[in-house]
Each structure stands twice: as C-alpha cells, then as structure tokens.
Symmetry: C2
Subunit: 197 residues, 2 copies
DNA sequence: CTGACATTACCTAACGTTCGTTTAGTAAAA
DNA sequence: TTTTACTAAACGAACGTTAGGTAATGTCAG
C-alpha cells in the first residue's frame, strides 16, 4: 500500500492548511508541494473537503498521547495542574501547525466538526483537568475553571505576535517555562501575587 | 459624495471577511451582497487587498471609544479592572464580526499589520490596564498580567462553540455578566477561591 | 436662470487566469 | 491479468480585474 505517499500528502496538507486556511490552499499548490500531479492527490482523496477533514484528524490524532504522563495517580493535584499547564504550553509552542489548525477550526468549523474537536482533542484532558480542580477545593465552577486554564494558555501563546508590539514586552515572555510559571502563579494566587499566598 | 455606498460596502465586507476569511470572499459575492455590480465596488476601492485592509480599519475604529468610561480617575483600581473585564466581555460578545476579524488577523496578519492591530486596537487600553494592575500591587510581571486578563476573556468567548460540547457546560456560562464575574474571581483569588479570599 | 461641460456613481460585458475536478492512459507490482 | 500509483491534458466554472458606456449630479461662465 502507498501509506507513505498518503501520509506525506496529509502532513504537507496540515502545514499548508494551518498556514493559509482552507480556501487559500489550492489542490495544485498542494500537489506541487508534495512533488506529485494533481490527479495523484485525487487518487488518494475524493475531493478537497475530504482531504481537509482527514488532515485535521491527522493533526489532532498526533497530539492525543502528549498528555499521557500528566495525570499519574501518585501526584498531588497541584502537581498535576502544574504538569498539565507546562505540557499544554509546550505542545502549543512546539507544534505550530496543530495550534493554528485548531484556531482555524474554532473560527470555521460547524457544530458537527466542533463536536469532533471536543471529543477527539479536548474531552479526555478536560475531564482529567476538572477532576484535578475539584480536588483543589473549587466546588461550584469546575467547568468554567478548567476552561479558564486552557483558554489562558492558548490565548497567551496565540497573541504572542501581537504582544511583541505592546509596551513592557520582553523576550522571556515567549519561553515555555516562563509562560507556564506565570500562568500557574496567576491560577494559584490571582493577580495580587503578594497579598495572597 | 457617496460616502454612504462606500461605508455600506465596508460594513458588508467586514461581516463577510469575518465570517469567511479573506480568500473565501469573492468580489462578486460582496457586490451581490450590497446589491451592486462588481465594477461599482472597484469604483470605490482599487483592489480586493485594499478593500480588506480598509474594512479591518473600519471594524477596529468602531471599537476605539467603547472603553472610554472604564478608566475614570475617581474609581479604585479594583473597580477599574472590574469595569474593563465587563466591557471587554460585552464588546467581544456583542460585536461578533469584530472579534472574529481580530482572531483572523492574529492568524493571517504579517508583522506590519500586527503592529497596526497593536497600535490601533490594543495599545491604549493595554497601557491603562497595566497601570491598574501596578496599582493593585503586582510589580514585576505587569505586562504578562495585563496580557493574561485580555487573553482569558478573549479565549473563553472564542471557545464557546467548543465548550458547549465539553462536560459540565451550562447555558449561563455564555452570559456576559457570568463570564466577567468568574474571570474577575479568578483574577483576584486564583482557582482556590475559598482558601484565599 | 440657463446651457455647456465635468465629474461622480454606477452598469454590462468581457479579459486572461486559476480553481476543483475528471478523463484517458501508462508503467510497475500483485 | 487485475490492481495500484501515478501522469499529462483537458473540462467548465469561478476568480480578480478592466474597458467602455450611461445616466445623474454638480459646476460655472454668460
């Protein structure tokens, strides 16, 4: 079987779609990028839409195992949260294609694809995260708190190219460990980091 | 002058670009949406790129005055922060086109347009926000804390269509006042809302 | 106030290019 | 001999953009 060619096309498609978005990627451009003819791409995928959906699946599946070591039973809740935030910041910083494709899906996906995104990418980690937050003492707004953790990390990384042009920016603000540390500090103590603790 | 037609085209363009993105919007589709011919659109704008940039300007300029009442001198720092978070959540929830266009710019804009976005939309509010955070006692990571406030509100709203499919979701999670209240609680006290206070 | 003229705000119709997709064929592997 | 993995060439549709024309709306000397 030609699983090599197909995977190579998918990998290239993920990069192109994440950089340019669905509409801006042409089948000719993709075929050119993988060094094949257009018809060769159509040999592996029935049409552009199906290719895109499979590319999204492909990109998301790769991240499924990234969080496996985070939720180990013998850790304290605080440690689990810390590991999760570090891991999330690491993944979103390292795999730029994945992050951008996810952002684009948040903008463009219909409800059915949104459900896929929830189930395939978020649901498992989200449930773990909610359990940890419950252990930490929060009892009422567990869903919202878990969402806040993810949202905070995601958007801080997503806003990096913008925040570079805002007053007070320093290079270290874009280092994974710095981001994770600051986010954790905020989550544990709030903004007034001194008056609390 | 035909400022009416031009503004109407811009307004329609903002909606279309925010919903579909630059590449997916055609000049014919836009012309059809405003009930004009293609050439009529080209009478007002030299080309698609220039029309898009002007539409982005147009959408951003409308939001400039939304925060005017937030930073009044006689308020305490806590009150100013509270008002800002409420106002930001309100704007991002109400003006969907603005929010989506901003998200798309974060994905697609080059460094020059990112600078424009920083200067035209964020810089003024960001400076005010940093000043407030400094007043509240945070002294070291003012830039990062201010960024966190904005990122938290933005991404929670942006992830709404996804979070609907995650466990624990309730309808009230999408109400502006609820979002602002929860975000403020998190910012002031961290996740462990009881152990701190 | 009026007639001549210019400008504005649009129109229809077309330009060449690029798009997604298909058809027909080939060379190698099973 | 059938199936697999491809290629070259073409299909009609849609794309951004332009050319050329037509009413309506100023503008202003006489």
């Amino acid at each position: 079987m030609s699983v090599d060619s197909k995977e190579y096309i998918l990998q290239t498609a993920v990069t192109l779609f994440s950089k340019q978005g669905f509409a801006a990627v042409s089948m000719r451009g993709l075929a050119n990028s993988v060094g094949m003819s257009v018809a060769a791409v159509y040999h592996h995928f029935p049409n552009k839409q199906a290719l895109y959906l499979e590319a999204v699946h492909f990109a998301f599946a790769k991240q499924a195992s990234a969080f496996d070591e985070v939720w180990q039973a013998q850790l304290t809740a605080d440690e689990k949260l810390s590991r999760f935030v570090h891991c999330l910041a690491q993944v979103l910083t390292t795999d730029v294609d994945f992050r951008r494709l996810m952002q684009r899906e948040l903008l463009d996906a219909d409800d059915e694809r949104m459900q896929l995104l929830a189930k395939e990418v978020f649901q498992e980690q989200f449930s773990h995260l909610m359990a940890v937050i419950e252990q930490m003492g929060e009892s009422r707004q567990i869903h919202f708190s878990a969402l806040s953790v993810i949202a905070l990390v995601c958007d801080i990384i997503q806003m990096q190219p913008l925040s570079r042009h805002l007053p007070g920016w320093r290079a270290e603000h874009e280092e994974v460990d710095f981001i994770a540390g600051q986010v954790l500090n905020l989550l544990m103590n709030g903004i007034k980091s001194k008056g609390c603790q």
